[in-house]
Every structure is written in structure tokens, then in C-alpha cells.
Symmetry: C2
């Protein structure tokens, strides 16, 4: 399903076929935590913003609206009216970052909902069941995202358990994909490499999971507080041990610089809340760097956020007006900047793909580093 079309150094230009359409990589997945992009952005808007893949959160949809309701409705694609690919994370990251009173056992994790304190159990089978109920295109394996820093001993045990959980995820998703009432019988599964900042554990884990023939491979447990240098170092060591003929996904990353640096190390799937979170706080990504639209110098500026941009927000609205919207706490402000930022990220990925095709990725990488540093 994954075709490696071209490489430029370690950078991969790929094509990933799914039942919900083709994904051209490198790709940035647009994060819609609760089945919607924050900032008032609809699935129809996503088409205008060049979004290829929407990403939703298993944990949030399970704990709040309920995946069983969404299954009964006909699945997440129908629910949010989005016909292109959806990736759902496994819920693991939120279980470890949001919930309280966690108890990790071999069978899975016992925790309390961050919404109402309700006791919930989630293990590999439960995570697969929820993601199957949602009917996403790509399910993520249920893993432990250990906190940083953790001792090497703890990480070693945790990674071994994550491997055993991966086996169980694979077995259970295969079973679910064969059931009559399953929404997406072609649901794919990506494995997640863990190992904290210990490269030897990560490499060993990468080798083991590479043997297990998953549809794609993610590097997880990064962007959790370590420095960018450490993150790049992990990628330098681990990516070479992941299958080149499969998608390589760096979870939860990142800034434009992080993305080109990871592409340069062989990663071709990304997701991050920065474009929308920054949008809600008035920060726009532009071809001249990041700007803060609350800055007084923009109060009479009739230029669009980015003069080189053709997104719906830049086509029609000025920095001065958007600043006024932010200061007046009007919902249109965050919407316009979030739309622009997603368009910026999705267009940057387009440029990255073109640069790799032309063998000019190094120049593009350098340009992004210059703009944003």
C-alpha cells in the first residue's frame, strides 16, 4: 500500500493508498481531537486547506461522546462528514498524560477519566475495539508513553510490555476487521517505537517490531520535554532500523524546523496541535517567520497575514482586522489564524514533496531553518 517514489538523502517521498484515498507523503495530519478541528473549522474547510489526513483522539471520543454512539451513527467519517483518511491515536498518550490514578498492569491500564473521575480500563483489545468502532483509516497500537525522564530499567520493562501489547493489538484488530458489522474492515495498524532517550533500547525495539509486518511505524514518546537535539539524535539512530518501504510517523511533532529536520532523517508522517493552538493565541506562521498578531504594530496594517499566501483568510482579511478580532475576543480571529496556519503547514508539506522530487530538499530544509530560527 506504501510506495516509496523517491528519496533525497534520507528524505522519503512516498504514496500511501488507503480505502479512503491516497496520501502523498511527507504529510502533515491535521489534529481534530474530538472529531473536529478547534477554532470552528469544519471538514468542508479542511478541503480548502489542502488537508489530506484528519487525526482524532481515541481517548477524548471514548471518554466524552462515546465511540459506541459514533459506531451506531455509522462511524467517524460519516459523523464529521469527511471522506478522506482519518488516523486515530490509541488513547495511550492521553491515558498517560491526562488521566489520574493510573495503575499499569500486564493486561492494560486502570485509570480515572479526567472529565468525571469515572474508572476506566483500557488495554490493547479495548483500544482496538474503540478505534474499530470509530472506523478510522489507520489505528495506532496501544503503547505506554513513559514519562521523561525515566530510568533505563523502567523503560526496558515498559518497552517489552509495549511489544507484547502490540502482538495483542494486531491479533485483536485482525479479528475485528473480520466481523460483519465492522465499519472499516480494511482498518490498518501502525506500530509505535518506544524506548525513551535510550537509543540501544529503541533500536532493539525497532528491530523487533519491524519483523511484525505492520502497515506503518511511528516513533512515539518524543516531544515530551527532551531537547530537539536529543529528539534528532534518537531519529538518527532509530529510523534506519524501521522499514523504509513503510510510512514512518513521528508523533506529535512539531515546529516547521522540527518537521524538515525529521524529514531529513526519513520521517514522512507528522501531526501536531501547533497550527491550531498558536492560531487560538494569535500567532501566525508566515513565509517570513512567526508573527504575533496582537502586536500593536499591526493595528493599521492592511496586508494579509502572509503576502505570499493564498489561503481563505489571507485572501480576504488584513492583519489589522484580525488583530481587532483577537482584541475583541471574537471567534472569527482564532478561526482565521488557525485556517491560515493549517494551510501554511499543508502547503509546506507540498513544498517538501516537490523539493524531494527535484532533489532539492537540502535547500528547502536550509530555507525553513533560516526563516524560523
Amino acid at each position: 500500500m506504501y510506495t516509496l517514489l523517491k528519496t533525497d538523502g534520507m528524505a522519503k517521498r512516498g504514496r500511501f493508498e488507503t480505502v479512503h484515498g491516497t496520501i502523498e507523503t511527507p504529510v502533515f495530519m491535521n489534529v481534530g481531537t474530538a472529531g473536529v478541528i478547534k477554532g470552528g473549522i469544519s471538514s468542508m474547510d479542511l478541503h480548502d486547506l489542502k488537508c489530506q489526513v484528519e487525526l482524532s483522539n481515541t481517548y477524548h471520543l471514548h471518554v466524552k461522546t462515546g465511540d459506541e454512539l459514533i459506531k451506531q451513527y455509522g462511524g467517524l467519517h460519516k459523523f464529521m462528514n469527511w471522506d478522506k483518511p482519518i488516523l486515530t491515536d490509541s488513547g495511550g498518550f492521553q491515558v498517560f498524560s491526562l488521566s489520574s490514578l493510573r495503575k499499569i498492569k500486564e493486561e492494560g491500564v486502570y485509570f480515572s477519566s479526567h472529565v468525571d473521575g469515572r474508572k476506566i480500563f483500557m488495554g490493547p483489545e479495548e483500544s482496538m475495539q474503540i478505534q474499530s468502532n470509530l472506523g478510522s483509516t489507520i489505528a495506532m497500537a496501544f503503547d505506554e508513553c513513559a514519562k521523561n525522564p525515566s530510568t533505563k530499567e523502567y523503560i526496558k520493562d515498559s518497552v517489552e510490555r509495549t511489544t507484547r501489547w502490540l502482538e495483542r493489538c494486531k491479533t485483536h484488530l485482525n479479528k475485528l476487521n473480520q466481523q460483519e458489522d465492522t465499519i472499516n474492515k480494511n482498518q490498518m495498524l501502525f506500530a509505535i517505537n518506544q524506548g525513551g532517550v535510550y537509543n540501544d533500547i529503541r533500536i532493539e525495539h525497532a528491530k523487533v517490531i519491524s519483523e511484525m509486518d505492520l502497515d506503518g511505524y511511528a516513533v512515539g514518546g518524543l516531544a515530551v520535554g527532551e531537547s530537539h537535539e536529543v529528539m534528532y539524535d534518537v531519529l538518527d539512530h532509530v529510523v534506519p532500523y524501521l522499514p523504509k518501504a513503510k510510512p514512518t510517523y513521528l508523533m506529535g511533532v512539531g515546529t516547521p524546523i522540527n518537521i524538515v529536520e525529521a524529514v531529513a532523517r526519513g520521517v514522512d508522517f507528522f501531526d501536531c496541535v501547533y497550527p491550531t493552538r498558536n492560531g487560538r493565541h494569535g500567532h501566525a506562521y508566515t513565509s517570513e517567520g512567526k508573527i504575533n498578531l496582537l502586536n500593536k504594530k499591526f493595528e493599521l496594517d492592511d496586508k494579509p497575514m502572509d503576502e505570499t499566501c493564498s489561503c481563505p483568510a489571507c485572501r480576504d482579511y488584513s492583519r489589522a482586522y484580525i488583530r481587532h478580532l483577537l482584541k475583541s475576543k471574537e471567534a472569527l480571529g482564532p478561526r482565521l489564524i488557525s485556517m491560515h496556519n493549517l494551510y501554511f503547514y499543508n502547503t509546506m508539506m507540498e513544498d517538501i514533496r516537490e523539493a524531494i522530487e527535484k532533489g532539492e530538499f537540502e535547500a528547502y530544509r536550509k530555507k525553513i531553518n533560516e526563516i524560523f530560527s
Copy 2:
């Protein structure tokens, strides 16, 4: 500039020519308090929602962003990128409803800003200056909107002062329209009829202001706590004394029933925050009445808010999804319902115009009364 195309009973079907385009009446003006419709709706969206006139608030734009900044930018039309008509209210209503420590004198009103407590003076000249700075299509006269109930004696004095203020508004706007750097030299002025619930004062005032040859005539000081019956009774008595060959505007009104009842009494301009305020609270206007989308019965309902509606929200999203958005406190929920509600109101006005043209307004009035009572 106003052509009365057709009447059906007292109902008027008119056409109002402005420098920013033609307004077909009866018309509902879409309220964008701070130069933007609440709920994340842009001026581009307004075109899709069949909006003819946007209404902005002098008080809010003066106290917060500043009308001088907007003038320097090139006016409100350029600021919000809207090329169709804009009506600005005079600020009077907000001075009397929002601000504190008011002191009403012959020259105008001394008050404290509700934002930062800053002392501000606003009289007829100041209101005209602000509206001229904004460059709206239609300016409203600066009036006193007396609280309900007030004694007849108070209302009598207040209305006489409002008449003297109207003279000053007219004189000052004429002067401003002749200045070189005025943004809209064709800015029009509507008078406001006052008089509380005292029909004799209102009628006397209507006669006086009708002689003054304004571009349009509003009935103000209604929908401030009196019953609908009292409001209709005032209209029954006052509208016959306002010029039929000018627009008749009922300020701040109202529900669909209020609107058809006022049209039946000769009103043809309306504005109200209901469509967007209700949108933010999960209430949608439909061809079968008002529905509360938070209702549990909608949790699996895959029908659009209104099955007969072709607005952008009903085209693409279901009641179940919108309910999920509201419950998840996602900005897209209020946006979708607000868009639908504005479309509903604007389409209702279209239907009212058609009904008057066909001489079938009574049947339409009856239908709206049946749906919403």
C-alpha cells in the same frame, strides 16, 4: 432613494438604493456588534447567508477598537471587507444600557465606559462624528432610549430633547458629509421615534420628525421589557404617522412572529441578535419551529437541523454531529447554528417579500404564527 414597490394591507415591499448597493425590503440586518458577526462568521460567509445589510455598533467600536483607527484604516467596509450596506446604530442604546454613572444633559450624555471605566462624553455631534469615521451606509440619530417603565412626564421631556438632538445630528452629519476626508460623503441618516408606551407622545413625535425629511424612520425604545401586545399596539398607532415613502425600521426586533407582525403593521427594516445568540446557545430556527440541539433525542439523528434548508450547515452536517460539537464545547457548533439561523432569517425575509408581491402575506403571517407559537 426608497421605492415602495407594492403593499399588501399595511405590509410594504420596498427597494432602497444606497451607495453600497440596493436593499430589498422587508430586510433583516445581520448584527455584527464589533464589526464582525459573533460565532466566527466572516463577511465572506455573509454572502452565502443571503445577508443584505450588516449592522455594527458605534458604542462598541468607539469604546474598544476606536473609530479613529478605523477611519485611518479606510473605514468599516474596508476593515471588515464587506462591500454591501452597513447600518451603524448611534451608540445611544448602549450608552443607556451598558455604561454606568450616566449624566444626561442638554448637550449630551456623560458616562463611564463599561470596559475600563474611562469617562466619555457623547452627544449628537460626537455620535455623528464616530459614525462618519466608520463610514457606514446609514447612520442612526443619537437619541435617548428611556428605560421602561418611565413616567409620562419624564418621557415627554426626554422625547423633546431627542427631537432637538435630531436637529443637531442632521446639521452635523450634513457638515461632515461635505468634508474632504469623509469616507462616505453620501452617508444617510435615520431618525428614531421615541415615547415609551405613551402613544400620544409617540404620535406627536412621529409627526414632528416626519416633517424633518430624514432618509428613514425607526421606532426605538421597544423590545425593552414591555409585552409583545404593547409593542404591536404602539406600532398600530405610530407607523401610520411615519412617511410611507421612506424605510420604517423597528429596532432590535425580534422573533419570527414579531417580525411578521411588525411587517403586517408597515415595518420593513429589522435587526436582532436572536439568530446568533440562540446559535451560541444551541437553539436553531427551523421550518417546524425552534429546536434545542442539546436535546438527547438528537444524539443519533442524522438529519440536518432543518430538512428544508439549503444553508452551508444543513447541507453538510447532522443534528447528531452538531449536538456532539456543543457538548464538547467546540467552536464549530455555535458557528454552524449561527450560520443556519442567519440563513433562516434572511430566507424568511425573502419569503415575506415574495408573499407581499403575490398579495399572499396574510397566509405567510399565519404560517409563521402557527410554526412558532
